[in-house]
């Protein structure tokens, strides 16, 4: 990103769900839950919620917290969902039915196996008929999601939601049994000249050469979306710069960063 393409925006809301922290505020305060619970996903109607994977529930929970903090209505809010592995939890059940003629494939599970299950669920739950997308880029999923959101702001959208998350690769397909837990982070961005950005601190995204990535907590060190935790620190904590991870795996030192610009938009 050259100087002319640096993108400025305000952060209107932040949300988070992990196995240890139920909200972004809990994460910043260092207040883990005593017993892990399923993500609440309160904005998804209960009948729809029952069918959701843990990942989709986590993404809906993080999105809901960020949305509430932003004060925006969801029905016209573009959403960028990012996930490296997508709905991989659903895969073993589908594969089992392919190889065992006595186990019929569940149409409901099949329909919920697509990568955009989370973004579709949010759209249905909130009645949003606008733009929604679902993207993946491995370790670069968080950085790619933010760049997609920033390009939407540049294209004229006043507000964009970014929600990224991943759960563990199923152990039957080689995932580590003791691997990382589920993690989802949501953030609502506002273009610097959007009405709700007035008097808000501004942040700037850029591609920077750095070899000192964000030190993720051990519980999430293998989660492809762990870089999004630095956005939580930036949006709610005392972080000055967020490292969102590599631009792509072949250039590990080319990283997308977000930094405070030092002042409000007006």
């Amino acid at each position: 990103m050259t100087a002319s393409t640096r993108a400025r925006f305000a952060i209107l809301g932040v949300g988070l769900w992990t196995d240890r922290f139920a909200t972004a505020a809990d994460y910043i305060a260092g207040s883990p839950v005593e017993e892990p619970k399923r993500p609440g996903a309160g904005l998804v109607p209960s009948r729809q919620r029952r069918r959701c994977s843990v990942l989709t529930r986590a993404i809906a929970t993080a999105f809901g917290e960020a949305l509430e903090a932003s004060g925006l209505a969801a029905d016209e809010l573009p959403v960028v969902c990012g996930s490296a592995w997508g709905e991989c939890d659903t895969l073993p059940v589908l594969l089992e039915s392919v190889f065992d003629d006595d186990i019929p494939t569940s149409p409901m599970r099949f329909a919920a196996s697509v990568h955009n299950t989370a973004s579709g669920t949010l759209s249905i739950a909130t009645g949003a008929r606008c733009f929604a997308t679902s993207i993946a880029a491995g370790e670069a999923t968080t950085s790619a999601s933010l760049l997609e959101a920033v390009s939407l702001l540049a294209a004229g959208h006043a507000y964009v939601a970014v929600v990224v998350g991943d759960s563990r690769i199923p152990d039957v397909l080689g995932g580590e049994v003791e691997g990382h837990g589920t993690l989802a982070v949501g953030i609502i961005l506002a273009r610097s000249d959007a009405p709700l950005a007035v008097d808000m601190p501004l942040f700037e995204a850029q591609i920077a050469n750095t070899s000192s990535p964000y030190p993720a907590a051990a519980a999430h060190v293998d989660n492809p979306c762990r870089h999004a935790l630095s956005l939580v620190d930036l949006g709610l904590g005392d972080g000055a710069t967020a490292d969102l991870g590599p631009l792509h795996p072949r250039a590990p030192d080319q990283r997308v960063t977000v930094a405070r610009t030092g002042g409000p938009s007006s």
Binding site: G86, N116, S123, I124, A144, E148, A251
Partner: protein, 386 residues
């Protein structure tokens, strides 16, 4: 927004390459056959014939049918891509590809092996072979592209949306050009899944027909080099993206999301609906899709704009449908024809649009290419002559 398509290549059950595809479409020859995969039910599929060279040794850990198809498609446009890298710089070229199945076929084989041997096979790696970004890694390695990139996986709209991502990234100044497209390969999980939904046709798919009863699945895809500027024989003139907010696997019955996507594609290009030459419809051959899409087309364009479903030739390429159908739309702009929509006669009463039952030979200035998906995700791409 306006993107110039500098080069493109495609493959499907119709064959490998633009000439093979064009000739089959003009002749009305489909590429649907009995499936090569053993299945406990009847259907037809559109598989890409032949085998493809293995990837270079350095990429052997990522060697799957999906990535081999990608490499083969890229091989056909590698010279223009190399020229773009030299002209703009590798870090100014983006990479945006759509896939829905990703490398699931590799995981199917690994899972089957595990059932027999209680261990995954040597060489199987979920991250390198199954995961969505394996496609990105291979295309980056083969092209040297260093700019922003991602996979879009919104099921059947995935590779229509890549044009919008590229256009926004170019407009925002992040990149000057991009390789875009989409690829999906045949796999049993997908066939079983659509069968479980009652959405697979056990006969040849017949979109817009009164006798339609579902989808035939296909495989393949297309890759494009797009950039700013006015060169290139075909341009992407506009893209509309919307959501149904209705149901995970059924379209909005009035086609509200489909209508919005087509409307926005035209508005973003400043093109009047009356100027549309024809619509390459999503046209899956399911009762619900074809009826809802027809309502949306009729409401926006009237009842006289020719409509074709080229899924009657290729089957439904799922995550690659947007790419292959945009490539077909580009062919029709270049060549000046609308393919006949196969097996649409007798046309259904609930599809009140001007289905092209026979080939139309005429200049095609503006072509809408629709792709709609699970999750109610919709995209419409407007292609046209410069």
């Amino acid at each position: 927004m306006r993107l110039s398509i500098s080069a493109y290549q495609m493959c499907s059950g119709l064959g490998f390459g633009r000439a093979a595809t064009r000739d089959a479409l003009r002749a009305g020859h489909h590429g649907l056959t009995d499936p090569a995969i053993e299945l406990p039910f009847a259907t037809f599929t559109g598989a890409v014939a032949g085998s493809f060279p293995s990837l270079p040794t350095a990429l052997s850990e990522r060697d799957t049918r999906l990535t081999r198809l990608a490499a083969a498609l890229l091989d056909s446009i590698d010279s223009p891509v190399a020229n773009a890298v030299a002209r703009f710089g590798a870090d100014r070229i983006g990479l945006f590809v759509g896939t829905s199945t990703a490398g699931i076929a590799a995981s199917e084989r690994a899972y089957g092996y595990r059932l027999q041997h209680d261990a995954l096979p040597d060489g199987y790696d979920f991250v390198r072979q199954h995961a969505y970004h394996g496609l990105l890694d291979v295309l980056r390695a083969l092209t040297g592209i260093q700019g922003p990139g991602h996979v879009i996986s919104t099921a059947c709209s995935s590779s229509g949306k890549v044009f919008a991502s590229a256009a926004r990234m170019i407009a925002a100044g992040f990149i000057d050009a991009a390789v875009v497209g989409g690829i999906d390969t045949m796999c049993a999980t997908t066939l079983h899944g659509f069968h479980s939904l009652g959405a697979l046709d056990d006969k040849l798919t017949a979109p817009f027909s009164a006798d339609r009863s579902g989808i035939n699945i296909g495989e393949g895809g297309a890759l494009f080099l797009v950039q700013r500027g006015d060169d290139g024989p075909v341009h992407v003139l506009g893209v509309g993206e919307s959501s149904d907010a209705h149901h995970m696997s059924a379209p909005h019955p009035e086609g509200l999301g489909a209508h919005a996507a087509m409307r926005d594609a035209l508005q973003s290009a400043g093109v009047d609906p009356s100027s549309v030459s024809h619509v390459n419809a999503h046209g899956t051959g399911t009762k619900l899709n074809d009826a809802a899409e027809s309502l949306a087309i009729q409401r926006l364009l009237g009842a006289h704009t020719p409509v074709v479903s080229t899924k009657s030739y290729t089957g439904h390429l799922l995550g690659a449908a947007g790419a292959i159908e945009a490539a077909i739309a580009a062919l029709t702009v270049e060549t000046g024809f609308v393919p006949a929509s196969l097996r649409a006669d007798p046309q259904a009463d609930d599809c009140p649009v001007a289905v092209a039952h026979t080939r139309i030979d005429a200049p095609q200035s503006y072509v809408l290419s629709n792709s709609f998906a699970f999750g109610g995700n919709n995209v419409s791409v407007l292609l046209g002559a410069p």
